[in-house]
Symmetry: C2
Subunit: 237 residues, 2 copies
């Protein structure tokens, strides 16, 4: 099997993406800490998932610049993480353009381009033939850098901006799935969902009220599966 | 005038690009140190150019990951910087595809995608309407991430991967120029070429024999202008 670089944040979507990737490729796991609030906990989840799968090739990268640039509740401590669930309602109820007009404050400007750039550089040096990223488009917060059109354009940039002998496919196997389908696929594949971390703001016990916790809890509820994590607030299971 | 983020490495091409950018935009200068051999000297050149133009908004970013990934003579000390001028001969004499098959070992895999990602994130937060980069395509070393097709694809990724209200034009005003024309344009615009640094391997006195020095010296010679820098080896002026 040829190698693939898999971006593993430590969350549920990237964990299931990794589970899918290893059915066809030898995975090399890449994790990026970018000054987000929960970077310690996410890195711990990354290492636990990599250990679970016995992944030998791992690269952990630390960015300072996204926190220097700011502009997001995840990287600027002065911008609170929303707890009212508004972003979810927007993402579900509105037309695409109206929802797009209200990008949540947890959007980290153009973040996924940075993650892909690292993945592609590493893939080029490793001779890997694919980069996997667990972006989710529809059933999520509406970040512009999670949409299929962004990955299509970036794929073309990879084709043009690397060596002629380099051929790297950008793969987003969960992009069109509902989050509940991601939970189900993860369980089918035996993915270690108990090792993942999704909360945007807590590192010990998940808050249960940030957008990321709400999306995760709804996904498990819809899938009819108990989320193995512990939450600070009482949550419907 | 609206703001533009200008990537300023400290070299001649980005200095002239900055001189062009400030005729139409208020420039915000961005510099990235990525573990390249001459990062201290390049940063010094960046600050000197920014001081020369009185640029107030400056961002200096430090990457560790490109050196972690390696794969280039610029970021891996075990790979020597070529001094034989072969890359220049290839870039000039061969057909595009044959030249492309011999990307120089100074190519840093997919580097310019990383630089653009930082520039775009910062531009989005600043509300800037343009990003300038001093890439040179034809009359240079043949790096794939310096070609117009790469910037066209990346422009599309910027369009798709940022907020709907964000509109950032990627501008490459020197991409099609010969290096000698860049020297002439710089002199016309009063650009501080004496403050720039191009050498790939030395930080005190330029070596005169790496590809970057050779390209620069040839450019000044063709332009009929004396290069204000001092070189270690005797050079034709």
């Amino acid at each position: 099997m040829s190698k693939a670089v898999v971006l593993v944040s430590g969350g549920m979507d990237s964990c299931v993406t990794a589970a899918m990737a290893r059915t066809t490729h030898t995975p090399a796991f890449l994790h990026v800490s970018y000054g987000q609030r929960t970077e310690r906990r996410e890195r711990q989840a990354f290492e636990a998932i990599a250990d679970f799968y016995g992944v030998r090739e791992r690269l952990v990268v630390r960015f300072d610049h996204l926190a220097q640039i700011g502009g997001s509740a995840l990287t600027d401590p002065s911008i609170p993480v929303p707890e009212d669930g508004a972003a979810l309602l927007h993402a579900r109820r509105e037309t695409e353009s109206a929802a797009a007009a209200r990008i949540p404050v947890t959007y980290v400007p153009f973040r996924n381009a940075h993650l892909l750039a690292v993945a592609v550089s590493w893939a080029e040096v490793l001779g890997a033939t694919a980069v996997y990223i667990g972006a989710v488009a529809e059933d999520s917060s509406g970040y512009p850098d999670c949409r299929p059109a962004f990955y299509q354009a970036f794929q073309q940039a990879v084709r043009e901006g690397t060596k002629p002998e380099t051929h790297i496919a950008l793969l987003t196997p969960v992009i069109a799935l509902r989050k509940s389908e991601i939970v189900r696929r993860g369980i089918e594949l035996g993915a270690p969902l108990h090792l993942t971390w999704s909360c945007y703001q807590e590192e010990e016990v998940a808050c249960g009220v940030c957008d990321s916790c709400r999306l995760r809890l709804r996904a498990f509820a819809e899938a009819g599966v108990r989320d193995p994590l512990t939450y600070r607030v009482p949550v419907a299971r």
